[in-house]
Symmetry: C2
Subunit: 210 residues, 2 copies
Amino acid sequence: MPRAVMSRDEISSMREAICDAAMELVRDHGPDAVSFRRIAAKLGCSYTTPYRYFARKDDILAALRARAFRAFGAALVRALGDADPTVAARLRALVVAYVRAANEDPDSYRLMLDLNQGNARSPDLVAAEEGALGTCREVIASAVATGDLPRGTDPNVVAHVFWAGAHGVVSLALAQQLVLDCTLDELVVVMADTLVQGVLASTASRNRRR
Amino acid sequence: MPRAVMSRDEISSMREAICDAAMELVRDHGPDAVSFRRIAAKLGCSYTTPYRYFARKDDILAALRARAFRAFGAALVRALGDADPTVAARLRALVVAYVRAANEDPDSYRLMLDLNQGNARSPDLVAAEEGALGTCREVIASAVATGDLPRGTDPNVVAHVFWAGAHGVVSLALAQQLVLDCTLDELVVVMADTLVQGVLASTASRNRRR
DNA sequence: GAGCTCTAATAACACCGTTAATTTAACGGT
DNA sequence: ACCGTTAAATTAACGGTGTTATTAGAGCTC
């Protein structure tokens, strides 16, 4: 029963309905279960109707990734509110919150940082990523500003090191590669402490050098 | 032209030929290009013949993963031969070699540590993984034995921290998430130094505590 | 040589992404 | 009030996929 001319709101709500159905499929039956046929079955429409709103299947997955990045960045910002104002505490809180958020929604995390992904980065997606990374970068930058970290350090590089550390733990855990006697939380704490002490030590050594 | 009864060698060489064709497809056209039809086309046989050697497509990919893990572990061992005998140097060499090996064969690395993978771990695969991780664990353990790292530290946990750090950098790079002014090699060095200084700092603090 | 087993090939099924052609409904102009 | 135009949805179709019977044939054992 086709109507003529949809409003912007109707279009975007249809896009969200498609994304909702797709995400439901991811959660219930894995990412490979996402298909135009199954989405249409959930929505009660024909299987070519979603093509009007997403030209390709990858575009649906990209929209899901953008959603995940936004929610993830918001979770990190929220976690930072409850942390002590010292650099070490804030950095540790960030890493811990990162792993916690990833574990609370592993399906979204897998979508976000899957290795086998084309590099189709929509502006929307890039913006969401920037938000998530920016949170970490701000903490470092303010620490550099207050002198808790040496003036020369590039906040962006250090932020990426912390991101990589947290992501490495999450990634190995999700890939079920961890063979540990301790729990995941303990490993995360060791990682966070090691990185924090590492940057502080490099600060001390540089200060000593002057 | 069917024959009766194949020798063990004939069977395993057929399995290897299938893996060779599959890996060629991965390198030339990406992981999604792996299909029984295309493998058979490369081998000049019917597309159901490979089913006699691998019950499911995932089994072929698992075999490729096992191959990749073996080669990767061997590369790490090789790199460790050329490193200074100090703990810091050896750990740094390991991280650098890890990233280099991953960058030299990103296709294999993607196969090894893809997030969206069923947890089908064959004994063959587990053994290969153990070999790769064991290399790192040995370095830590010997450092603990010589007193360069505190007695209490669990070599396995620290090895996993270093693994996660190196993997995190590689993983973000392969997922094209790094937005850096510096090169990847520089980021790796920062990560390695931070981790090494971190563990040494924790050593120092514990020694101070005694 | 008869019978049996192991290997390979052919056929078929259900599903997929994607495109083209077709129907249906609402809108604008007269 | 009608009609042409246009947007939305559907149906049909193509080429491809994993996987499972079913069938044909070569070699081994007796």
